[in-house]
Assembly symmetry: C2
Amino acid sequence: MTTYYSEYSKVYVSVDCIIFGFDEGHLRVLIGKRQMDPGRGEWSLYGGFVGANESIDDAASRTLFELTGLRNLYMRQVGAFGNIDRDPGERVISVAYYALINVKDYDDNLRREHGVEWVNIKQLPPMYSDHRDMIRKARRMMREKIKSEPISFRLLPSLFTLTQLQRLYEAVNGEEVDKRNFRKRVKEMEFIEKTELIDKTGSKRGAYLYRFNSNTYDEDPIFKL
Amino acid sequence: MTTYYSEYSKVYVSVDCIIFGFDEGHLRVLIGKRQMDPGRGEWSLYGGFVGANESIDDAASRTLFELTGLRNLYMRQVGAFGNIDRDPGERVISVAYYALINVKDYDDNLRREHGVEWVNIKQLPPMYSDHRDMIRKARRMMREKIKSEPISFRLLPSLFTLTQLQRLYEAVNGEEVDKRNFRKRVKEMEFIEKTELIDKTGSKRGAYLYRFNSNTYDEDPIFKL
DNA sequence: TCAAAAGTGTTAGATTTACACCCATGA
DNA sequence: TCATGGGTGTAAATCTAACACTTTTGA
């Protein structure tokens, strides 16, 4: 092994996952009581260390898989958090990622085994280290992203009603919107298509189910530059 | 020293700076030929390693100061780059930051001592490792940011003409805008105020100089959430 | 029969875009 | 005197926001 940079110090690098879900009309994050020292018992994001033979992105994917049993989740980097004393034990920098999952896709037994819970983002408890900051930043980024890319369907079942979609938008943006204006806008999005299926669980009358069609989605012009 | 995480591997962490400037109507970045192995001679961002006793942000500030002699530059994190083989020597993850400086504030001798040049962002050469990716992402983030926060004045002298400001917007956004519409919009921004001073360097007739007034700038509502 | 959610259009106001000419000056 | 960049307003088009009633059905 060469040692080009041997005069500098090395540090541990971890990943922390902000996993967003949408349930019962609320945006939620998956957090648990920390099961290791330092900080045992404090509310914390789920995370892991970056191994010698994986990229940071890979470490995040792996960590998400460990926790949820799901692959190919929508995942974006939030940023690196590196205050000297952010970890009470040793110098550890952490790279945060947010991910979107459909709560129903997550096996509830697996969830309990990992000791994590879906907590309403508006009712977060005090948290370990800088995890609150990570969540706040992730939330801001996700809110911006959802404006320019159709990622909301990743928080919903593959078939969803317009009311569900609207509630999701409202939860993400923190304010209610007009039903008629909302539906007008949705109608103009070619990538959200109506099916002939009807959901009767949410109302007596029943509501049409919609689905996301990725074929009719042209990527955001932003990515062409 | 405690050793909570001793079973995991440590890595080097560096910072890389994407320094944006605006000159002769073009958005530019400060890059130089790499003066160390591995990668000696390739075009590269200016960077440095994160020390044991500084946060990543502090390491970025320090690195920016080393290079430019300037403090309190506008600086934002771009993200962590951590592919396994991104550094041909050893495992190094790097956290990229972009900064905005007024080209005229940067002493040209200092610039030459560090062997860096202002390169038009539209004419970037092939670059070391993932530095092109860093620049691309930084540029995207900066373009988004400039829409919601008045940061453009950081790329200009403290007094500037409306034409300069317009050219800057055009360079950042990559498209020309209508002069009358642009000036109309600027007039509505309370934080850009007209002075009685006139700049005669850009035209025979002379143009009024404007300045940014931070007192009349209310922070973006985004930051209130 | 009634409570609860689904579904549907129009209008006023605000914002955005397109567009062309005169001014002041130094060379 | 003329070439160069500085400076100004209006009208059409588009987009956004506000707003209320009918439908269906299970309990």
